[in-house]
Symmetry: C2
Subunit: 266 residues, 2 copies
DNA sequence: CGTCATCTTGAGGAGTGTCAATAACTGTGG
DNA sequence: CCACAGTTATTGACACTCCTCAAGATGACG
């Protein structure tokens, strides 16, 4: 593996990072002062960013592309813990655990650019800036919450339900049109993220038609929301506070109004 | 349910709380100033401490007894998320999520005394005291880590392996003698904590003999550590850093030396 | 010694993993 | 534009684990 060139961030990259929740509530000067220690690295498709067992050096924030966080068991099984997109960060938890080694692997899915900060930078910033510390506490807490919800889903939902739930989350995070969008990642990656085999995922897709979702190739169409409520979201204990569910339904209504408007134009 | 009396903490309760990791690195004055806002409440066997959906008011730290944190799904299934003992705290994550409601239920198992602090107390302390903030970050991070490891276990281990792993953790947290100890909680509670049915748990016990653990009634005996390594710990991706595994084996060696010493006395 | 709660054991079935064969897609070069 | 190889996904058959329902057994306690 060739040595990676770590560059100073470009203006657009800095701007993007300045906007993430971790820096919210900070003055422009504070942000600039913090960001000056960041370095940007580009990774090719499938390239490893760090490995489990490696010594933990940096906080990573994804600028663009998709990053897979996964763990390998002694048996050789591979479990995808998380899929990061632009604005997501990783290793905050590990840094504050003070354990010193990575507990998972990270690799670029189809190439990615990533900003990294030394771990002492993070510890210092948390110590010196209480607003930053509270942002961090909030970010770590939210992430922990999501992990917990995920675990509950795994424990209580069937494979088709898990897939349906994930497709909604996907639609919401990418702000896709629920009436039709293409999967931005491979089915194998989704299956692995959901802790199931690709075959099980594949077999879940036909079942989804009953739940109000049609999948043909890479194309996903939500065609029956009441059915989705009945078969999937209605079985979830966090339904009321699920932002993905809310966003997808909001988007559906927007699209509906839009197509009505178009119709009137014709 | 009768109104609970919330009392000022006794000297021994304050002393106990002063010693937990959350307050480490703080001066005696800082600790005293923080602790003056704490109130102690006693709960009877099976009594509810808070319910999911309730408005989130306090940080809770267990002084004594055992507390079950659990969630109910719309189907009526109950999943135990955590079992807390003295020194453990709960709701830190929820408070920093700023969501305002409890995401789980909490109930005393066989009675418990609990110290509570208003949530603004926690936010203020984190804002004003950077040592406290870092302790918090560390505590939340560690907890998140444990949740993640738990999820991985559920995904990769069989029911008997999960039980074996949990019995080791139990032995370590209570500092029991691995050569023989009694379960401090019911088997149903353990099963629920491991996300399995009581029947599955029950059926796992005979299997454990092959793994080096004998369970008769409430009594647990670890009798074959190499077998345990081979069948359980060896399949775990966090084996090297597992403190429970380390503690149980250390305790075993202590006991071995002790019984040898006793033998020489006779 | 009976009563209640807790736990064990049995039989059957649903769901997912595994192995294996086939199909669809992607990109490359003729 | 098509043929080809490599990757990615689908489908089938079967085994295994765990859940469910049901009936007993054991234990704690008055």
């Amino acid at each position: 593996m060739s040595q990676k060139a770590s560059l100073k961030p470009s203006e657009s990259e800095s701007d993007f990072i300045r906007g993430i929740p971790l820096f919210s509530g900070l003055s422009q000067e504070e942000k600039d002062s913090l960001l000056k220690d960041g370095r940007v690295t580009s990774y090719q498709r499938r390239q490893t960013i760090f490995r489990q067992g490696d010594s933990l050096q940096n906080l990573y924030i994804v600028c663009s592309g998709i990053v897979q966080i996964y763990r390998s068991t002694p048996e050789g099984r591979e479990v995808t813990l998380d899929i990061l997109i632009g604005g997501d960060m990783t290793c905050t938890r590990e840094i504050f655990e003070l354990s010193g080694v990575h507990t998972a692997n990270a690799a670029a899915v189809n190439g990615a650019t990533i900003m990294s900060f030394p771990k002492v930078w993070l510890l210092d910033a948390a110590r010196k800036n209480s607003v930053f510390a509270l942002n961090l506490l909030s970010a770590i807490s939210r992430r922990a919450r999501m992990t917990e919800v995920d675990a509950e889903h795994q424990a209580t939902m069937s494979a088709p339900q898990l897939v349906a739930c994930f497709l909604q989350v996907l639609c919401a995070t990418y702000n896709f049109n629920p009436r039709g969008f293409d999967l931005p990642i491979s089915k194998s990656l989704i299956a692995s993220r959901l802790g199931m085999e690709l075959e099980t995922f594949s077999r879940a897709l036909p079942v989804l038609k009953k739940y109000g979702i049609t999948v043909r190739g890479k194309t996903v169409v939500f065609h029956d929301f009441p059915s989705l409520e009945e078969h999937v979201c209605g079985h979830c204990s966090v339904m009321d506070t699920c932002s993905a569910r809310k966003m997808v339904r909001q988007k559906r209504d927007e699209v509906r109004q839009l197509s009505r408007a178009e119709f009137q134009l014709v």
